[in-house]
């Protein structure tokens, strides 16, 4: 089995990028390491698996093994220095608010655990406060997010655990979109738009995030410019953003919106599908909202049918790829509202359902 494990790892590490296939191979290798009870390998492969699964858009895999890794690391301090596990904790923690079935109490309990581990390892509050701010923003608790951003700015920090400067600026910019006037937010975002700071999430994430705010303010010209910049750099990032699709719909670029939506059709599949995921997350909400808005706007033009290649396990799949717009609209509307309700109930606010209202008010 050891030989098989080595061979699987060799195959997995043939991939340069964190692809879904690399995730599968690492998942298999991780299982094998568990089977042969090689704790050191399990820790090493596990950390790579967390990274590969997150970057390839399969965060549930990362979530499913991360608690085990923490326990293993705790029990085997001689095998695991704190650094890499704590570093990955930051990524994993921000996935939690994306799942509406995870309660706020559970999210903050995990965040507290991360905080304690950071403290124990001797790191300052700066990074912790920054992550409190990010989590609060994801939960739509803007005042608390602002408070923790200020606190993070004030804290003197060690640089070891801090995100890259581009990521920190992006997080602050995102918050400013909710707390500042649009003009101020644009000023804060300008260095990111101008690529003065860059990383795998910047500037592409900044372009995407500002678009709904520009649409709300009716700044279509500005939005057009930002969208063009987004479109130019979008391939450089593995994340998928829905905000640019909303811009395309608002600006009546329906073909482009469909092209962007066609890049990920793995959602809303039949439970019998081998690709089905029962875990509905924020991406599902955004996907459903985009499709609902698109169908609504196309329906306004008098068109009743549309061609689109959905996944063949999609609940409404039609082998001729021809769909009645009204049926798609009803389906995605129901899904959007149900998901918004579950997020809002969890968040105890209207942060997510407000996005629906804002989208239809553009």
């Amino acid at each position: 089995m050891k030989t098989e494990l080595d061979s699987l790892l060799k195959e997995a590490y043939e991939y340069n990028d964190e692809s879904p296939r690399k995730t599968e191979l690492l998942q298999k290798a991780y299982t094998l390491a568990q089977t042969i009870q090689d704790v050191e390998q399990q820790l090493n492969i596990g950390k790579d698996l967390v990274q590969a699964s997150q970057w390839s858009g399969n965060s549930p895999v990362a979530l499913s093994i991360f608690p085990q890794l923490l326990t293993l690391a705790d029990k085997n301090p001689q095998l695991e220095g704190n650094y890499s596990m704590l570093w990955e904790y930051k990524w994993v923690i921000t996935d939690l608010p994306d799942f509406p079935t995870i309660t706020k109490e559970q999210i903050f309990a995990a965040l507290k655990d991360m905080e304690n581990r950071y403290k124990k390892a001797g790191y300052s509050r700066k990074v912790i406060d920054h992550y409190y701010s990010i989590i609060y923003l994801q939960l739509g608790m803007i005042d608390q997010a602002k408070e923790f951003t200020l606190s993070a700015k004030k804290s003197k920090g060690d640089s070891y655990m801090q995100d890259c400067i581009a990521c920190v600026k992006l997080a602050n910019f995102k918050l400013s979109c909710h707390t500042e006037s649009l003009n101020n937010a644009l000023k804060i975002g300008q260095p990111l738009f101008d690529k003065k700071y860059s990383c795998s999430s910047v500037p592409v994430g900044a372009y995407a995030y500002i678009l709904p705010f520009l649409l709300n303010a009716g700044k279509m010209k500005y939005a057009k410019k930002i969208f063009e910049q987004y479109y130019e750099v979008m391939d450089q990032d593995s994340d998928f953003y829905h905000e640019p699709i909303l811009y395309c719909i608002k600006s009546k670029q329906f073909t482009k919106a469909l092209e962007l939506l066609g890049k990920d059709t793995s959602k809303f599949l039949e439970p019998s599908s081998s690709f089905y995921s029962p875990l509905k997350d924020i991406d599902c909400f955004q996907y459903a909202l985009s499709f609902w808005y698109l169908c609504d706007q196309i329906a306004c033009t008098g068109k009743t049918k549309i061609k689109f290649i959905f996944h063949e396990d999609f609940i409404l799949y039609n082998s001729k790829n021809r769909y009645v717009i009204k049926e798609l609209l009803d389906f995605f509307k129901t899904e959007t509202l149900a998901l918004a309700k579950s997020f809002d109930q969890r968040n105890e606010n209207n942060f997510i359902s407000n996005q629906i209202i804002e989208t239809f008010n553009y």
Binding site: E14, N16, T35, Q68, I102, Q106, S274, Y276, P278
Partner: protein, 588 residues
């Protein structure tokens, strides 16, 4: 009021001499470089054959390296300007480094300082071609120097003397010869060490397009100590880069260190890991000379600019063209090459449709028909059924063969991606992923009488395996010597991982919430083969405790054969079942 920075000269020399370069031996390259530049300068006025000569004067404690060239030499003002002013160089105009000038290797005016890595004093005697008397310059590592005229008449050129500050192998003739050869063997001047007739210049020049493949391979074997699979000449359209890529005779991982020898104007600049070839070209080592890329200050690597990017792209195209040419004219050779370097070739094929269409006729996949290309498999089967997991493939092979069906093993890197691309580029190929679950769906069911007869047995199995979230089924399938098939879906894998979360962990509740969503779609199935004599015997077993023990053991055996980790609650099964069997035997 303006102020000038104060510079601690000896400290500056220490930084430049001891920390800029990664290796001590680089001082030899810097000396050769200065000589070459001086020779190039003199050649503009007169037709000379450049010659750089090294010699060692042995002395037990402080041996001395002597180097002379027949270059331009320096005048007194040039000595003050270029040897005493850090950052100043003969090759700089108006204080700007002129990267576009192709005739000089050095650019920064700091190379001579590297000699302080091995000596405390540099003695330089020079006679300028411009005339005037010969000069002697002595520079010390503390930042001071002296200059005096020499009455004696000497030939135009420069001689440098370096006395070893401590013992160093560089001051041994054999070692020095190797270093001089290493850096300068392809230079267009005569290089000699010891005796002036002992030249170290290479016989084979890999940068000339006329050099034969045999010579290139011979050169590669000497340089890398590898008998390469093949040699591919590389050159830029504007001839600014030329050289050879050597195809390795063994496979190498994508993240393995690249071994290249990169020359700038025929002088070795970088060895090992440079990015002169595209990332996917892991299967090649290269020897390349470039005349226009911009070296960094240490002259050990190049700036990552558009020119380097273009060169890299061009070399990438040439390597792809080489593979395409092989496919047309030497298909057998290409097959051998792909057998060795299948990973990088698959990687390029996934990214490039034309390349895919060409290479798909050569890339072989393991399958129940042996190692075979996709077109051949399709020809034989009219479809491309593949399994994306090696363990699952092994489990399904006997079942597929018994049903006269054939499967491709796509459990290796890039296989699934290639099959996905095949489905797009060749829609007529009917590419289908097969899992154990798909096989289970087509197994024969028991007839109604059999169902009734074994209803209690199946029920017993389901009750027993319920705590392990595994369903228990009795079906009929070939081959008869296969007692059961076990299948685990991905959700079950995830669920089992989530269930391993420590009870005390703050993540426990999170995992419980997610598990409750996943559980309805997580499935494990143990399907017993009613055609198998052992299973028939088991299913007819009237001794219920014995049947229970055997079912549980079959489940554990299936888990272990599938290389699945055994959960805590499953660990006790083996011991308990064995105990049960012993008790039954004792009782009997």
């Amino acid at each position: 009021m303006k102020h000038n920075f104060q510079v601690d000269l000896s400290g500056m020399i220490d930084i430049l001499a001891n920390h800029l370069y990664s290796e001590d031996k680089v001082f030899v390259r810097e000396l050769i470089q200065n000589s070459i530049d001086a020779i190039q300068l003199r050649k503009k006025q007169s037709d000379i054959q450049g010659h750089i000569h090294f010699e060692i004067f042995e002395d037990a404690q402080h041996p001395l390296i002597y180097i002379e060239d027949n270059g331009q030499g320096l005048t007194e003002s040039e000595v003050h300007q270029f040897l005493a002013k850090i950052g100043s160089s003969l090759k700089r105009d108006n204080n700007k480094i002129d990267f576009d000038r192709n005739d000089y290797i050095g650019q920064f005016g700091i190379g001579i300082l590297s000699c302080f890595m091995v000596t405390d004093e540099i003695v330089l005697i020079t006679q300028s071609a411009k005339g005037g008397s010969a000069l002697e310059w002595r520079g010390k590592s503390d930042g001071t120097y002296t200059l005096k005229n020499i009455d004696q008449k000497i030939d135009v050129g420069t001689k440098v003397y370096l006395k070893a500050k401590e013992y160093s192998s560089f001051f041994e003739t054999e070692i020095l010869t190797e270093i001089v050869r290493f850096y300068g063997q392809f230079l267009p001047v005569t290089l000699s060490v010891g005796d002036k007739s002992q030249t170290v210049n290479a016989e084979i020049n890999p940068f000339k397009q006329q050099t034969s493949k045999e010579d290139l391979l011979r050169l590669g074997a000497t340089h890398f100590d590898i008998d390469f699979f093949d040699a591919v000449p590389l050159f830029n359209p504007d001839k600014s880069s030329a050289g050879v890529a050597y195809i390795l005779p063994y496979a190498i991982g994508i993240s393995a260190k690249r071994n290249h020898l990169i020359y700038l104007k025929n002088m070795l600049i970088a060895e090992s890991d440079t990015n002169i070839l595209p990332e996917w070209a892991v299967f090649a080592h290269c020897i390349i000379n470039n005349n226009t890329l911009k070296p960094t200050a240490s002259r050990e690597s190049f700036y990552e600019d558009d020119q380097l990017k273009e060169t890299k792209e061009y070399f990438g195209v040439q390597l792809k063209n080489y593979l395409i040419e092989l496919s047309k004219h030497s298909p057998e050779k290409l097959r051998k090459l792909i057998a060795i370097h299948h990973h990088p070739i698959k990687m390029i094929a996934i990214e490039n449709e034309d390349f895919f269409r060409m290479m798909i006729n050569f890339i072989e996949f393991p399958s129940t028909l042996g190692h075979i290309t996709l077109p051949s498999f399709f020809k034989a089967q009219n479809s491309l059924n593949f399994v994306q997991d090696v363990d699952e493939y092994r489990q399904l092979v006997p079942i597929a063969i018994a049903q006269n069906k054939h499967l491709i093993n796509a459990g290796y890197a890039y296989s699934v991606e290639l099959l996905e691309k095949a489905a797009i580029y060749f829609p007529e190929w009917s590419v289908l992923a097969i899992s154990a679950n798909d096989m289970i769906q087509i197994f024969d069911e028991l007839n109604l009488e059999e169902r009734d007869e074994f209803f209690d047995f199946v029920n017993l199995g389901n009750e027993l395996l319920l705590p392990y979230e595994c369903s228990f089924q009795l079906k009929k399938f070939a081959p008869i010597d296969m007692p059961c098939l076990f299948h685990f879906n991905n959700h079950m894998k995830m669920l089992r991982d989530m269930q391993k979360t420590d009870d005390e962990s703050p993540w426990k509740n999170i995992m419980d919430n997610l598990s409750s969503e996943i559980a309805p779609v997580a499935s494990a199935q143990l399907v017993l083969n009613f055609n198998n004599p052992m299973i028939q015997k088991l299913s007819r077993q009237k001794n219920v405790p014995l049947a229970k023990a055997l079912i549980k053991m079959l489940y554990i055996q299936a888990l272990m054969l599938g290389h699945h980790p055994i959960a805590k609650k499953e660990l006790t099964i083996i011991g308990d079942s064995m105990m049960q069997l012993i008790d039954l035997k004792t009782y009997a």
